[in-house]
Amino acid sequence: MATGNIPPVEREDYLNKHYGVGSWLFTTDHKRIALLYLISITFFFFIGGFFALLIRLELLTPASDLVQADTYNKFFTQHGMVMVFFFLIPSIPATLGNFLVPMMIGAKDLAFPKINLLSWYLYIIGGIMMLHCMVTGGVDTGWTFYTPFSTAFTNTKIVEAGLAIFIAGFSSILTGLNFVVTIHRMRAPGMTWTRLPLFIWAHYATSIIQILGTPVVAITIVLVAAERALHLGIFDPKLGGDPLLFQHLFWFYSHPAVYIMILPSMGVVSEIISCFSRKRIFGYSFVALSSISIAVFGFLVWAHHMFVAGMSVYAALIFSLLSYSVAVPSAVKVFNWTATLYKGSIHYDAPMLYAFGFLGLFTIGGLTGLFLAALGIDVHVTDTYFVVAHFHYIMVGGALMGYLGGMHFWWPKISGRLYPEGWARLAALIVFIGFNLTFFPQFILGYLGMPRRYADYSHMPEFQILNVFSTAGATVLGVGYLLPMVYFLWSMRYGKPASDNPWNAAGLEWQTQSPPTTFNFPEEPVVTWEAYNYDEIDKGQKEVPQVVG
């Protein structure tokens, strides 16, 4: 369906406007900053993936024979820390969000371009610090660094890792701040709230969470560092402190953080499903409001991570009830996406394959969350592989699939080139198969009782076969992830040049050239049409309404 063009005369765009390292490192162009982020987070994705590989290798056999348990603890900790803080949280907002938010609303840039660049530098500083921490000893507490182990017992580099995350957290806060101000203040004339793409609504909701939640984990890290240095007693039961206080403060951010990771992906899915069904998203306002609801409700449920930690059982009951409620807006989205497909004209290009993958896998992940929200079930499956499978279904089967789908969908806009469709569909299939082979067995393992974070399961050797399946799946998954790296890079030189709107998609970003110029639009657009006006676009192959200058 993607249409190419006779290669145009070399037009000026944001990529060729200035050359040289300095023009990239000191840029304030949101699109260049998005690419800087893209390179950085891809790098950290492979670091996190490397640790995942080590974990899966160790778990091939029941005994802790690849590495000692202390080292294994570092593997899963660093896998988690890198993937959560240096990949998933920035992933879509810092790359696709940075690139597209101004364009989708008809603006020349974000509200604060220099702060945007600062965000990237903070991310890089935090990332370098984290890398240094990992190669000079690492951390072994789990990415959740629970007290009092992290404050009083472990000898690993907690403070350095904490500082790295603190700094990266500021990057996240500033991105969120930038998006909220931009979306409120810089919409083009006629771009009313109800004409905004759902991608924008999703990023708005994500930004609210980044703004309100991240500072709480920041102060928690400060407290942990202080406690470690001075033995203050804030989290130490021997001195009258409460370890659960750490968990309350930590999870107050870290639960909404998972919504930071999934909401942008949901925004991407809305865009893709709409385009490749040639239909307006069913129940647009419900989907838009569900993003805000998820952001709000997401703050109400944090202690469902603490059901068996020693919390009051009455509080556990309340949080269990609230956790059921947070599933509702997510379900609203899934139903609306499905309804969008009904009587749509479905096209199976790679972005759509990823969106389908998202629909199925996110649903499974979300439903298993309900299992975990039930106190009676949670008592048995908490801290087992059931939880691990649950969150990987959402984070990898959901968020990462959405990210890949979005990268494919907007690649022509970002690079001005088409990726090879055949290879992309193959990669999507490999990812889907590899993913399920990796993580479905983990649901079974958890249900049968295999604990998480154990290097040695030799007292339960019957779990080996499922672990072997899981590791095999991880290898397949790895191939699936490497393929897009290869063909995206290939396409930058050898891919067919893309037209301005190869998908004939709705949205202001498609109405400017591919790749865009530095200031996006030749003249400020004036919007007079509703979002997802595919009926108008497709009526007799009518052109997308042109921007009125």
Binding site: H248, F299, I318
Partner: protein, 101 residues
């Protein structure tokens, strides 16, 4: 907001500023005096009420929240406080009910 020339106001903002300043100092003195009285469990409540009043005066008049043309800024303030209070309330609920039964 800031581009309004002061001649458009019926009274100079200076009067408001000095009145708020005096109220804030008075509130501080009141807080201190109230703490010297034995009000039992209401000591904390009184202190917090006075503090909140002072904070509101600063926010509304010194930070110009009262004259803000859009509701947006007030929404930001209210939402932030909502989530902060949520954190405290739900955490306190845990601590307050831990040792029932």
């Amino acid at each position: 907001m800031s581009t309004h020339s002061t001649s458009e106001h019926s009274k100079s903002p200076l009067t408001t500023y000095f009145a708020v300043w005096a109220a804030l100092l008075l509130g501080t003195w009141l807080t201190y005096q109230a703490s010297l009285l034995d009000l039992g469990r209401y000591n904390s409540a009184v202190a917090l009420i006075i503090a909140t009043t002072k904070a509101l005066l600063v926010a509304l008049f010194f930070m110009h929240l009262k004259g803000a043309s859009e509701k947006l800024l007030k929404l930001v303030v209210v939402s932030t406080l909502f989530f902060l209070i949520l954190l405290m309330a739900l955490a306190m609920f845990d601590y307050g009910t831990r040792w029932f039964s």
